[in-house]
Every structure is written in C-alpha cells, then in structure tokens.
Amino acid sequence: MTELQLKDIYKKFGSKVVVNKLNLTVESGEMLCLLGPSGCGKSTTLSMIAGMQTPTSGSIMLEDKELTKVAPHKRDVGLVFQNYALFPHLSVFDNVAFGLRRHGVPKSEIGDRVRASLASVQLAEFEDRFPAQLSGGQQQRVALARTLVLKPKLVLFDEPLSNLDAKLRQALGIEIRLLQKEYKFTGVFVTHDQEEAMLLGDRIAVMNGGNIVQLGTPKEVYKKPVDPFVANFIGESNLLPIANTDLGTSSETMEITILGGHKIKVIANDNNSNPSKVMIRPESIEVLVDKDIDSEKYNYLTGNVAYINYTGTSYLIGIKVEGIEKEFLVRIQNMTEDLHFSDEEAITVKWKIKDTLIY
C-alpha cells in the first residue's frame, strides 16, 4: 500500500533550483533512505514533507490525503533531527509529553504513554533528567521517544545519527529498525552516509542535483549502479576511462580498450553502444597467485603495488597501473595468510567479466 507520494516536487530558492521535479512513492511500513551528497536536495525534500517548507510546485500525498499546504503542526508526521532538538528547559518526561499535551491527550493517559515510550528506548529511569544531563545517544533516544509517543504514520529522520560516534551510530541505527517493527511506522531517512543507508534502508533513493538518480534495494543500488556517480557514491569503485570501443558486439562479450592500452572484456550491452567508463568494485577483484589464466571468464590487469593498508577485516591494495592516473583499488577479505607484497612489486589481479560494468 502506498503511504507517501511525492509528485513532481519542484523547489526554488531565489533562482537556484534545489529540488527538480522529484517523484517518489514510499510504501507503507518501509524505510526509505534518501542518500546523497550535501546540496543534493535531500534535506529540502524532507523539510517539505514535514511542512517546514512549501514546494514551489508539485504535490505531497499521505495516504490519499493532500498534504502540500497543510500546516506542519497538523500533519501526522514525526521528525527526528540531527542535533536532537530537545527542549532544554523541559525535563525528559515533559519533552516526551510535549506532543501529547499539544494534542489534548487526557492527563490520566499522558503519564502511562510517556513512560511506555521511554521504556521502549531504554530510558525509563531518566524521566526527571534534563537534556543537558544526557549523552548524545541518550538525547537522540529521548527525541525518538518524543516522536514515537504520538504514533505517527510517517517518521522523517534528518541525519539523526550524524552527530554520534561510529559505534553508537550503528547501535542506534539498529535500534531504529527495531522501533520501526514495534511501532509500525513508515520511515524516510535522510543521510549522506552510504553505510547508514545500507544498514537502515529497505530501499535507497540516491539523489544528486535535486533529483533521484537511482531507486532500489541496497543490493540493487550496490550491484548495479546506474551511473558512475552512484557507483562512486555507494561503496568503493574503480572507474577507468575507455579509450575506444571496438570489435564486434556479435558475441556475448565485447572487448574494449581503456586508457593505457589495457584490454578488458565486458558483457555485451545493446543499451549502451558508446560507453565511456568501466567500473569494477574493489572487492570483486582477486590477486592472481597461480598463473592459471582463464580469459574466457576473467579480466586481468597488471601493475605495481603503490600501497597496502590493513584495515582489520580486509586489505586494501592500491595498484599503480600504466596509463591510469588513480590507483586501482583491490580489497581482499578473509586472507588466510598474510599478504607479502612490497612496494613497487609487480602484481596481477583478476576479476570476473560479469563483474565489469560499463557506463
């Protein structure tokens, strides 16, 4: 069932177009992540759904109800902020009770609902504290309780984890997913952090230049990025400029030459007759150890080791390849034995032809 629908949303600040004819449908109960670099229009989009800003044109529908011009305080939409935005002059209890009181909930009910909500974010004993006495993670959980106590259909998250350190970020991210199951809200989650988007999103909408570039599940967006921008933004990528496309495309694979004269095979693709870039994910690449060449299945590339970084879960190898400006990145996981490569040493790597994407 469709919960939220954005139709042709257009927003201008002065002469600057921030959101350009954006269309988006969010299904009931899903968590949709709006992912993009700063200035891509994701926060403005969220702000328009919350009613803090009005679109220049276009419409916002929540469950078949036109929402575009409804005042923010009359929308059944929750909003969680990056900087928590807790009321500093009110206790934790009063912060959570704020919305209930504004909605005229009877006094007898307020106490129970506030306590239940605080219990669901593990802050039951903190109701008498003031925001300044809590840690960042605790403050954000109070903010979640304050929003969820109203049981909104739709909850908007404006980079709520960005002010927290890495460990807390992941823990609270998972907590948000669990809270979503408990409270059964539909979520729109804005972030510039692809890991957060992967962790939280049922679907990810990658935004750039005021519009959605790609919309799909985390797996789809990661495995089949529609363009170099998405490939680069989500995860690590090697983007190699193509020098020329040649040879017949009659067979299943076609061969292309990248800068530096290296030949690479890709799956023939009728949709893209004139590609300009080749993309390979660093983690789909292996180091060639056994000299066992199978050029029907694999692409090969040889260069010299520029650096090897050990990151705990993997090795990241930067390889200087002739004719290519940026180091070619290879990420090796689950190495049973330590890698022994010294700087400048020649290295050959291989990856499956089907893992080679062209743009």
Binding site: A50, G51, M52, A71, P72, H73, K74, R75, V77, G78, L79, F81, N83, A85, L86, F87, P88, H89, L90, S91, F98, G99, R102, H103, R129, F130, A132, Q133, A143, R146, T147, L150
Partner: protein, 285 residues
Amino acid sequence: MLKRIPANWILLAPGIVILLLAFVFPLGRLFIYSFYKTTSSGAIEPAFVLDQYIKFFTDTYYLEMLWRSVYVGVIVSAICLVLGYFLAYGIARTKPKYRIPLLMLIALPLLTSAVIRNFGWIIILSKKGILNEILIKLNIIHQPMELMYTVSGVIIALVHVMLPYMVLVLYAVIDGMDLNLEKAASNLGANKFKVWWYVTLPISKPGIVAGTLLVFSITLSYFITPSLVGGSQVKLMATEIEDQTIQLLNWPFASAMGVILLITMLIVTSLYKKALQSKYEGANT
C-alpha cells in the same frame, strides 16, 4: 616577586583600583554621611543617628516619591520588554543581511547624547509640540494633551532611552536559539502561538530577566530625563537627590536617599530573580 602574582590579578588590578577609588570608597562615605545630623539651621554635624532615615520614612511626600520611582521603573521595564521583544524577535528572524543594519538602527540612539534626545522629546511632547499638533490636525483629540511635566511624558521619554538596551540583550538570546527547537515544537503539534509560548518564550527567559533588570536599575537612578521632561512637577528619587545635594546642600539626607534607593533596587531585583528562577537553569550548570 612579580612572578608570584597570577596573571589574571595583574589584568584585574587597574579596574579594581579604579573601582575602589571611584565607587567603593565614595559609597562608604555615602553610608557614613547618611547617619550624620542636620541641625535646624541647616548645618551638618558628624554623628551616628537615624535622623535622616526617620525623616524619609515618616514623610508621605518622600514615600510617595520612592513609590513613584519604583512604579516608573517597573512600567518602563514592562513597556520596553514588550516593544523590545517584538523588535528583537523580528530582527533575529529576518534575513541575515538585514540584521546588522537593523541592529545599528536600534543602537544609533545610544550614540547621541541623552540630553539632546530629551530636548527632542520636549519639542515633541510640549503643549504646542509636534505630537499634539498632529493629533489635533487629525481630529483625534481636540484639546492638547498634557504630556510635558507629567509621569506619562517621563515614561514615554524613558522608554525611548532604555529600549536599545532591552533589544540588544534580548536579541543576543533569541538569535542564539536553535531554530530546530521551534520546528520540533511545531512538528509535535504546537501552532505558532504555542510554539512561542511553550518554547521560544521560556528559552528567551534569561534575556528577559537580564534585560528588565538592566532597564529597571538604570531607570530607577536615571536623572536627565525626569529632570528635563518631568521638571519639578514629577519628583523622582534621582531628581530629589540632586535637589538635596546641589540646591539645599543637605548632604546627609541626600546620602540617606541614595542608600534607600540602592537597597530598594537590591530588594526588588533579588525578589524578581527569585520569582523567575527555574529548575533547568540549575540543571545546566
């Protein structure tokens, strides 16, 4: 030797010396003087008697004057608070490029001498002044209003003088407020008035307390405006102290009035602060 004096004390020293010589010492003299005796011939005799205080508190003329001073102070603070809050809020919520020019406009009166500003008010408020002329021409009133040499006139002129202080103090607090708090309140179901009432207003309370206390304490001892606009008809503590000191040369009585004014100010401000103290300000420390 110099090494053992901490740097902060060296920085404090000039200020402390000036404060001791120009404030603490004279204030001590004032206290001592207030217990001196004035003989029936007007001569001053060193003594330690409560004569001056008894004279003040047994004469309704002086008690009324004290009450009038406090009353003017409270009314001026209240009017400045309301007008100043609108101004400060309006400036803080306008586009950044307009804020500095608007603040300059607010602060501009502080750059002109208070005497000149008050002469301006005489021209505006007098019987044949600009205000009366305009109101009569517009048929709003038929008889000129008496504003010069009245409490109302003094209050109008004082509000004008004090308003910049109030605006500047309030602006600092309102401008420093996180706008997301207002957004959060609105998102939780508060309409514009309730956002202001439950969030903006309580958060701007430190500014309100500081601004009103500042305006109240300056007003209570302000001399030029009551003297020029109020004249001898509107007697306030400050103008009477001047009379007693310069005209009547009754320094002990003037001293006693000064002490009474100071203590009144301390009592009113501490009561006011206590009434507005809230839990969260304590919690933040």
